[in-house]
Amino acid sequence: MITYIVRRLVQSFLVLLIVMLVTFTLPYFQTGGILAPAYSVLGTHANAYTVHIWGVQHGMNHPYLIRFWNYLDQVVFHANLGYSYKQNMSVWGIISLYVPRTVWLALSALVLTVLIALPLGIFQAARRNSTFDYTATGVAFFLYAMPSFLLCMLMLQFFSFGWIHLPAQPPNEVAPWAMFTDPVGFILPIACLTLLSVAGISRFMRGTVLDVLVQDYVRTARAKGATNRRVLFRHALRNALGPIVTILGLSLPALFGGALIIESVFNYSGLGIQTVNAAVTFDVPTVLGITVLVSIMTLLGNLLADVFLGVVNPRIRVEVQTA
């Protein structure tokens, strides 16, 4: 198991290198080349000489490979993500301000999704083609088809300005503990994010459990006289857990992406809004830093999902040990 984890960590690191290579190379293709941010920092009428000096100050006169090596050296060996072009802060400073806020949003939505979607999917599979199943599937279909911002806006319309009056905006103090002192403000954004991911995951869960329920071992279990409940929870659920854990791991980037839309609807300054602002103002170090960080979180999430998969499924554990 440990060799497996180590091997996966090395692989993840290589993957991270590719991510950095891609994101680092992108600015070379923007209109105006890598010096485009200079005009965003110095103003659109900056003269060529100032732009040149700015470029030299930021090491842009070096060749591509040298620049990439310098960036790698800085990130990997010094854990330094650089200094923002636009905000007078280091990228770490920006990240440490906003990451807790977004992670809080995304993580509570993830936990709620698991708590709601898994039982829902199992129940639907157990009672398939019942009225409840059809209703839940229908609702999931509509939620899945709804653009996230539309759902948010409708929720705001009905639950904040309409039938009941929940706060329309989460507290925007930068201090991360605001999430504990004023939890009511988070009800709507977290509910939106949860609804959006429940729609996809519960449908997937239903499909997986249905697939498992037609397997031979389930029939055997039934034949030897196991009760319905036992078949469902001892045999079906355990085998359906594998794909669902993988999907949950893979849904992490989507969750962060979804958080981006939610953040801009609810005017909650988190990582998403920061990224959009940074991208629009050509703040390259910030975009790179946030992308690298979110990729690390995603890779770790996938790794955890796979390790957990080994815990719940003995067959995979054996495969891993022999591999």
Partner: protein, 301 residues
């Protein structure tokens, strides 16, 4: 006549001589909701591309220039009212729909074509090629999709062609993974191995065996890809990164509508929201129905 026909059909079904595609068509036709979805999509598509020629509305000059009312409630003159710029809402829905549907379809097609080629090559060649290709895919998948889209779109000029290419190029990763799984499975099957043993080249095997046998999966995923592309396009529209004025698409319109929702101008959001959500639901439902159709286990029942 009809009874004779149906009797003939049942006989053929029971003796099992009905051709595969016909059997599949029957399963699809049996699914009433799927038929309704197809009908709805055809209706909306025709409406978006034909009706604007018959029901001509001004979609270029804003209210101030033409002295038409903006934010006007639905009336005989403007069936769905007018929006905040004074554009006729019904005409705008059809006009924007043309862009949303075309872009969604083209972007979805690109994702499926690129994903299929990548997945097939990776899954079929296996070994080092597969490892490298899949780890690259892992890297791409772990970059948050929307973040990447946004940096792409701020980096490059925002033309319509570019929107298609960007969504197409960034959307194929998930598809490639599914197709690769298929290719891996088919590679292990006996007839593929027999073909290889008889000296068929790899490309021949991919073309003659792997591709035809995963076509059902490809068609199904393609349907979902189009729906996803339409949704992503709308998300971009919301962020103000979609199609630029004077053109419009449903995402941009929904964004405009949602900003008017608290003023009580319901006609700027609800008709379009219903049309939009139903389009995506219909496409997804057709995808589901196609999956049932191609499910071999269901064929005999």
């Amino acid at each position: 006549m009809t009874t004779a026909e149906s009797a003939e059909l049942t006989i053929q079904t029971s003796s099992g001589v009905v051709p595969m595609w016909r059997q599949r068509l029957q399963i699809f036709m049996h699914n009433k909701l799927a038929i309704a979805s197809v009908a709805y999509l055809v209706f909306i598509t025709l409406a978006c591309f034909i009706v604007p020629h018959l029901y001509q509305t001004n979609q270029t000059n804003q209210a101030l220039a033409l002295n038409v009312p903006w934010n006007a409630a639905p009336s005989w003159h403007h069936w769905f009212g007018t929006d905040s710029s004074g554009f006729d809402e019904l005409g705008r829905i059809l006009y924007g729909g043309g862009y949303s549907l075309t872009l969604g379809l083209l972007a979805g097609l690109i994702t499926i074509i690129v994903g299929t080629i990548y997945g097939m090559v990776s899954g079929f060649f296996g070994g080092l090629v597969d490892t490298v290709m899949m780890r690259t895919l892992d890297a791409l998948l772990s970059i948050p999709y929307l973040f990447l889209l946004i940096s792409f779109i701020t980096i490059f000029a925002r033309s319509t062609t570019f929107l298609i290419i960007i969504i197409g190029v960034t959307g194929w990763w998930g598809n490639a993974r599914i197709i690769r799984g298929d290719a891996l499975l088919i590679r292990k099957l006996e007839y593929t191995q027999a073909s290889t043993a008889m000296g068929a080249s790899r490309w021949h095997v991919i073309r003659r065996h792997v591709f035809p046998n995963s076509i059902s999966n490809i068609v199904t995923i393609a349907t979902f890809s189009v729906a996803d592309a339409i949704l992503f396009l709308s998300a971009l529209g919301f962020l103000g990164l979609g199609i630029q004025a004077p053109q419009t698409d449903w995402g941009t319109m929904l964004q405009n509508g949602t900003s008017q929702i608290s003023n009580g101008y319901w006609w700027e959001i609800y008709p379009l929201a219903v049309v939009f959500v139903l389009v995506v639901v219909a496409i997804n439902y057709i995808g589901d129905a196609l999956r049932d159709v191609f499910e071999v286990r269901l064929l005999e029942r």
